[in-house]
Amino acid sequence: MAIRALLALLLFLSSSHFSFSIYEDQVGLMDWHQHYIGKVKHAVFHTQKTGRKRVLVSTEENVLASLDLRHGEIFWRHVLGTNDVINGLDIALGKYVITLSSDGSILRAWNLPDGQMVWESFLPGSKASKSILNIPKNLKADRDDLILVFGNGCLHAVSSIDGEILWKKDFAGESIDVQHLIQSPHDDIIYVAGFSGSSKVFVHQFKAKNGDLLKHNDAELPCGTFGELLSVSYDMLVILDDIRSKIVTINIKEGDINYNQKYISELIGDSSGQAIILPSKLPGIFALNLDSHVILLKLTNEGELVVVDKINNVAAISDALSISEGRHAFAFVQHGDSKVHYNVKDVNANDLNGDFVKESVVIDNQRGHIQKIFINNYVRTDRSQGFRALMVMEDHSLILVQQGEIVWSREDGLAAVVDVIASELPVEKDGVSVAKVEQNLFEWLKGHVLKLKGTLMIASPEDLAAIQAMRLKSSEKSKMTRDHNGFRKLLIVLTRAGKVLALHTGDGHVVWSVLLRNLRKSEACDHPVGINIYQWQVPHHHALDENPSVLVVGQCGSSLAGPVVLSFIDAYRGMELNALSLSHTIAQVIPLPYTDSKEQRLHLIIDADQKAHLYPRTPEAVEILQQGFSNVYWYSVEVDNGIIRGHALKSNCIGEVVDEYCFVFRNLWSVVFPSESEKIIATVTRKSNEVVHTQAKVMADQDVMYKYISSNLLFVANVAPKASGEIGTATPEEAWLVVYIIDTVTGRILHRMTHQCCQGPVHAVFSENWVVYHYFNLRAHRYEMSVVEVYDQSRADNKDVWKLILGKHNLTSPVSSYSRPEVIAKSQSYFFTHSVKAMEVTSTVKGITSQQLLIGTIGDQVLALDKRYLDPRRTLNPSQAEKEEGIIPLTDSLPIISQSYITHSIKVEGLRRIMTVPAKLESTSLVFAYGVDLFFTRIAPSRTYDSLTEDFSYALLLITIVALVAAIFVTWVLSERKELQEKWR
């Protein structure tokens, strides 16, 4: 009975709805949220009229943002969808931000001060083409200011007031490639210039008011062309010929086309390199990149080319900035030895000696080269011209430089996180204390007295503010050492720019960052990409004197044929320990469950030529591998072919050169999905480091079911090829979803099931013995989530207690994948309201705590859903016994409780993935969600049953104890006295 009562108590505790909502004063205590925008593509400074404090940027993450020029904070920000790439950005009417996106088909206007959308217009077109946004100054049709947009083969003139399309010209019928929209400064005429074919230039003249074609002209150039046309002034264009030896200048004055050619060697003498015209827009001059020099060439009114200057080591050149009537300035940066030299010059000065600004700035080496520069001017206190420059760095960070100093910098590479792992912090040692624990006893006492006041509700508002500040700034949180509960960790993050950063889980600050040499653009590799990050070495035995390290795997180019680059990084100091450029390719990286004597984990890298390479390359590693040689199995998924294959190691490579770290492997099994009816869209495995606490599940009727726990299970979701597109492209009859659970050692299909009328996208998580997946049901027009739980029947007869006592059970015998599995799978489906961007499951250190699914919703929030809702044993009317076990009555849809959003009111913009890390405290799991933003929090799916809450008042406890002791003494004295009196009576 007592057990039952206890069970009931537990049930009571677990079935009460946990609210994850927090109180106002708990915001920021254990969570942090960082806003990013990504690598800046375009930047537009506010002009005089619109206030000078802001800069507008659009980025490669499709973010449009308004930044504070003084501090670099975000005033407002919009994250457009992943398919809505921003092509152009400008300001119209002095109050609207105009963006052109989705390959020139969507034009939007946003209010400058607050970022509200004012209007949006869809510009239809038929043919993919270059997209150009041009906002001419003082060009009016009736009373509207015009916006000229070329996109999808059409020229549109759009009113900037309401986005109405005033007129439209379709170029789709003509096979031409429009490259420039030029406005004549004298009259309301628009020139449309471009190529048809490779050498035929054409110019169309339109009347801006109504789009009437005034004139059109074309001319055949004497040679082919290379690169794109550059407009130097309103009537002059330049381009290189196809062998890049001549500059062709094209004069389009009044619609007539005249061209001139000039050999580059005539201008600057002989040179060996290949010339490129840089796309910077400078009035009257243009920049030519040749042999790592930049040559500035001026185009005179007579059409003559004059060399103005030759600059070495130029990293970037800005566009021209108009500073006063007829005067323009531009900036360029040069990389010096340790500094960056930054020059602002007058465009019109003949010899370019008239420098406005010449400054040197020290920029952190780990930021790499400068890739883009945008300039802006301001009036100094002495009424002279001042300039500030916005620089986009190689690691995607953004820097504002003014007066030779970095005013602010933003680490915007973190908007494009590729992979994350968590690493432990150093153990606290004597003398290595990084942060002070507490200031002194007095401070400590004061803090607790304040807390006590707060608890007893006698604190004044000032005291409350002080308490709040104290909690937020608690040095305990951001200390650089391991804590008892395992809340403090390092999140080691690999970004798309090839930079590795370590973030502290306490407050999210960057502990160290390193731009990997291997993943930078170089002569050897033009476009390296970082792929994954792995734990390389986790010292347990030598935790005090050895640092853990991580392995970053990258590749040259995104195709399979690119060679591999490996980097080994010290996780505490952020130093690159070793970097390898390998000759072989990479298809897969397999961390093996073996470590060598230095506690380095063995990794197999499978290349595209069916070879496996062992790392680290030491004889010891080979020896360790030989011991487990026959037990290394892996699988590969060929998504395009619809084939999954299983592999095992065979022997050393046979080749001319003996390489003992190279192995060949054989195919053990294959699963071939019929290509006409199935297409692989998702594969999910269990996390390799997952811990399962109990293998058995006790049913309500005292029955036991054994979970089928194998670390070699793979979940595969296939859809009908017709239904593999977007939702709505297939009818319910031609859509189906087939799910498989496959053993990856033997290739056995353990479970197979078809969902009719369902299609992807499929998001799934696999944990312990269950899979939960999310898909769309076309017949019900709703999203669904299903759960499949796999139970082992071969151990089902171990229920007899006597067998267990006498040791006749088979629970301790090793399990072999080659035995025929006797499994049963239970499954159930439910409707779910949201579409899902990412799905994850909480993981705790020992796996005792009940699990929660973390669902990244379409609204960029993270929802925590108890696994109990996804239990295939839910029935409509559970019996009393089942209720006691914790089975929730069956409902057709999964509940969404608004308090269970772990992100509260925050949006993790552009959410891509959720990751969970167990803390040392069993009840708690750390959650890191990333997309354009980063969000970190810790959650306790069954509440923190194993520790006191953070705001527990120790002082109150102490005082209570003291008071009790005092009371005991007082009553004791009193009773003694009374007893004495009794005795004397």
């Binding site: 009975m1 009562a5 009931a8 049930l11 009571f12 079935s15 009460s16 709805h17 072919n641 084939i643 294959r645 054989r666 053990l668 099994w669 294959s670 071939v672 019929p674 006409e676 009816s677 199935e678 009908a720 009859e733 087939v738 496959i742 033997t746 290739g747 056995r748 299909i749 197979r752 099931m753 078809t754 969902h755 009719q756 049901n777 019900a780 299903s786 015998s813 090793p814 072999s816 080659y818 035995s819 025929r820 159930q828 489906s829 439910y830 409509l876 209720k883 006691e884 929730i888 069956l890 409902t891 057709d892 849809s893 509940p895 969404i896 005991i968 009553t971 009773s975 007893e979 005795k983």
Partner: protein, 285 residues
């Protein structure tokens, strides 16, 4: 029944053959529907090309709709060679889908060399591999279905094996191959007494997933959920309050006794009585 089916199949095949020139999927499905008059179109109808070939074979083979496909095996890394063949009947459902039924398997007995090879596998604890075509009508289909097992798992009295062939229409998706029972891990070397296989074969098709339950009376999922979760809470108190209150009293009693606190006079006579009683006992001592 089979006669009608045959006639139907003939008409269908005629239609199919005649419609080959059009090269349109849609037309084919229409034809099928027309031919079967009101028959359900199953979404997984195999592609037209495969269908025609099957029908051709089928019609060529006359009344016998038997289909055969080969099992091949390899010892370790050797080449694959014939090991037996499966034969089965082609069943055409009235909705147009085709499946295999009545699978039979005849295994070739191992010859001298094969026995030697197998013995070698047993010695080295190496893999015995088998393969099947991925399409039974046009072998090998896109690729072979391979499966492997450690040879030592197969030896018992003689040699025992178990095939579970997963089918999708007429394509084989995968084969679960291995011992019919357990294969305990430290695999013991045991030579078989007889060199003949005892084979078990099973054909398996995909099952339909259970549908999501739809309750008409259940409208607001969240509110209903809140209501439904409440009862255990109530029932707990309703059921166990009578145990809990005495328990609480006992605990409180125990605490007061342990503290040996003298109770106040005003607390009641009973307490005072016991107190006096103990006191007197002490006095008497």
């Amino acid at each position: 029944m089979s006669v009608i089916q045959l006639v139907l199949a003939f008409t269908v095949s005629l239609f199919l053959v005649s419609s080959l020139a059009f090269e349109s999927d849609e037309l084919l499905i229409d034809d099928e529907e027309f031919g079967l008059e009101g028959g359900l179109t199953r979404p997984q109808s195999p592609p037209p090309t495969a269908t025609t070939t099957s029908r051709k074979r089928f019609s060529e083979s006359g009344s016998d709709s038997k289909i055969q496909f080969n099992l091949e095996h390899a010892f370790g890394d050797s080449q694959f060679s014939g090991a037996g063949n499966f034969s089965s009947r082609l069943k055409i459902w009235n909705h147009g889908g085709q499946t295999l039924t009545k699978l039979r398997f005849s295994r070739n007995s191992l010859n001298e060399i094969e026995q030697k090879n197998f013995e070698k596998l047993l010695q080295e604890d190496d893999f015995y591999r088998i393969r099947l075509p991925s399409n039974v009508l046009s072998p090998p289909g896109r690729d072979y279905i391979i499966s492997s097992v450690k040879a030592r798992c197969l030896t018992g009295e003689g040699l025992e094996e178990n095939f579970v062939i997963h089918m999708e229409g007429l394509s084989i998706v995968a084969v679960n191959y291995g011992a019919p029972g357990a294969c305990p891990y430290p695999r013991q070397l045991k030579l078989p007494a007889r060199w003949s296989f005892r084979s078990h074969t099973v054909l398996r098709n995909s099952e339909q997933a259970p549908r999501a339950p739809i309750f008409s009376e259940d409208v607001g999922g969240e509110d209903a959920e809140g209501e439904i979760v409440m009862p255990p809470e109530r029932s707990f108190w309703a059921k166990y309050w009578m145990y809990l209150i005495p328990l609480g009293l006992i605990v409180m009693n125990a605490i007061t006794q342990a503290m040996n606190m003298p109770e106040e006079q005003a607390a009641g006579q009973a307490g005072a009585e016991t107190q006096r009683g103990t006191n007197s006992a002490v006095r008497r001592r």
